[in-house]
Amino acid sequence: MNIRYFAWVRERVGLEEETIEVPASVKTVADLIGHLKSLDENHAAAFEEEDAIRVALDQLHVEVDAELGNAREAAFFPPMTGG
């Protein structure tokens, strides 16, 4: 699965984008966050304030309880500040 990071989430992870193998046990966005946090210290630090992070699956906003389903891309970012 393709994972993208933006703004301070990107800075903390240290990556703009990565492709990961999703374990079969990972069904929801919350599961995916748990998995990403286990990867290394940077990921753990990035997802420390979980409540401050927003998620999109295939470029659509979703909540953390959303099923990953057949999504090909997940993106993690802080609350938006455009406009």
Binding site: W8, A56, F77, M80
Partner: protein, 154 residues
Amino acid sequence: MKVTPVVRVQSEDFDVQLESRALAEGRKDVGALVTFTGLCRDEAGTLSALELEHYPGMAEAELTRIAEQAVQRWPLTGLTVVHRFGKIPPGENIVLVVSASAHRRAAFEAADFLMDYLKTRAPFWKKEHLVDGDSGSWVEAKSGDEDDAARWSS
């Protein structure tokens, strides 16, 4: 007649007059044209630039979803949204909304709605670059913005 919103995400500046004309020129059914331009402020001289990061693809898609909602909700004759990305110095344009309608209330409300939704839903993030050379912090989302957006779901 279904109106198709114009949505663009670009690094270059936009021309408010050109975008307004595109919605009004040669027409006789437009009674009200509202433009909203968001500009970069220098925060009392402390800010040298805002850096706008965006999620390419999703930014366009999300702005289009918001604009389509506005077109469904108000009787518009035209709607345009342009959002810039990249480094933007104080005094320069960041975002533009132009709404046209036969009636003023629809044009005002659609532009207002679009800005409120855009602020909380379009995937853009602002980082401050300061005059003293620091690349300052990421701008934090304001709870007031969520409140503004919530006005439209009552």
